[in-house]
Subunit: 237 residues, 2 copies
DNA sequence: TAGGATTTGTGCGTATGTATT
DNA sequence: TAATACATACGCACAAATCCT
């Protein structure tokens, strides 16, 4: 999340727009967050501050700063004297987030909608092509990455920055849990369903109907959650 | 924001539900956040880590942890070698947050609405009484506190926890800016308007129509923002 | 332009809490 | 129950960045 508020920016110096330390923070933050969301670190995995410190060549202090932020975002939980663990989300909490995401999906197409340029549409078309390739050789991690990239395109529809930030946070909180619930045998089906969602949205995008996109997305979020509840529990991974 | 996700809780130990350090964190966090939102620390105010460390009797480390969180929430901004400052929010960003808050206000009455008990209604009635007392002796800080307390009652209408957290965050980001824009001469008028909003919502609450509350609130958020834009700029304070 | 004062960011040793033997 | 192992939380000294004289 980028801050909504801004101070009057420094007057003279231009080059280091972001302080060096903030850049490093974001690099480490994004790296670890992606690993969590791609299930490289599944729920209940234990993360060691010291190992990250060695990997990124810094002391534990900036690492703790990153982990603290990820904890605030709900992806981690630290316990004094025990360790830092990737969170799981129980089904009731998950249901609440999905319900909220459904409403926010609609708002993405309504609040300050930004008309899609040909370049925007082309990028989405490329994502559909990636999905077709993925259908040939199903792979959970590649599927997760594609899903994330597609979400970014949807998020870019609105000019309302706080809405983007909030949607993004809720997406990262829940999609990893949903992804984990998909049994390997059903991955092919999920890819087919996802391709259909992308195709529907692409069509609405080509005629410039952003509001319709919101409702299409809403329906797919709803159906995804319902499919998830029907899959037999496969917690261990 | 409280975490949506939870790990399997420790099995045996009951008493220290929250670790001692986490309790301290929240105590300091709430204290400083309230000071920012009550304009004890207005936008552009400079906060010193060392002073907080002395005030709360700890080292800079846990203070930095709190300030870091407040920065993530958009209330502060730290700059290396310069200082930590309370943020301002420009009018465009403010408009986006208000627009989003309007939509979320409606959702507060729709998503998992929790029926109001007589005790709930009584608390709101007491807030109206506080407003009447305030009208006799207008005071910006008491007005801000009353506004915060009323918001908490509205937030409590939904059982959807992530919605509550997000609404709360956006409220704290913007209300202090709105409050600051009210010229002293118009404070009486704002109090009258606010009393009317509370009375309208109280009436809807008494008949159990939570959805109506959402729409009443939405209209008042919209009107508040429009009044704010008309007030002559009185940034300095 | 250079240098000192001040403040945030980092590194590291220690205290504290938890689990296990 | 006591002791040991180990991880997070804290305190402090120093580095880095910025501002002002």
């Amino acid at each position: 999340m980028r801050p909504v508020a801004q101070l009057a920016s420094a007057r003279s110096r231009r080059p280091p727009r972001k302080s060096l330390s903030r850049e490093r923070f974001e690099r480490i933050y994004n790296t670890i967050r992606d690993r969590i969301c791609l299930l490289d670190y599944p729920p209940y995995a234990r993360l060691a501050e010291e190992e990250f410190a060695q990997e990124f060549g810094v002391s534990r202090t900036p690492i703790r700063s990153v982990l603290s932020r990820l904890e605030a975002e709900g992806l981690l939980q630290s316990r004094h004297g025990v360790g830092t663990f990737v969170t799981d989300v129980d089904i009731e909490a998950l249901a609440q987030v999905f319900q909220l995401r459904m409403e926010l999906a609609v708002l993405l197409g309504k609040l300050d909608p930004l008309p899609r340029t040909p370049a925007d549409v082309a990028r989405v078309r490329a994502l559909v092509a990636r999905c077709d390739a993925l259908a040939e050789a199903p792979d959970p991690r590649a599927f997760a990455r594609l899903n994330m990239d597609f979400f970014q395109e949807l998020s870019a529809m609105t000019g309302n920055q706080p809405l983007r930030e909030i949607s993004e946070r809720l997406y990262y909180q829940t999609t990893r849990i949903w992804l984990r619930s998909v049994p390997r045998l059903n991955l092919r089906d999920e890819i087919v369903v996802f391709r259909r969602e992308m195709a529907d949205i692409l069509a609405a995008m080509e005629v410039g109907d952003l509001e319709a996109i919101g409702y299409i997305r809403r329906s797919h979020i709803s159906m995804s959650f319902n499919r998830m509840r029907l899959y037999p529990g496969q917690k261990p991974l």
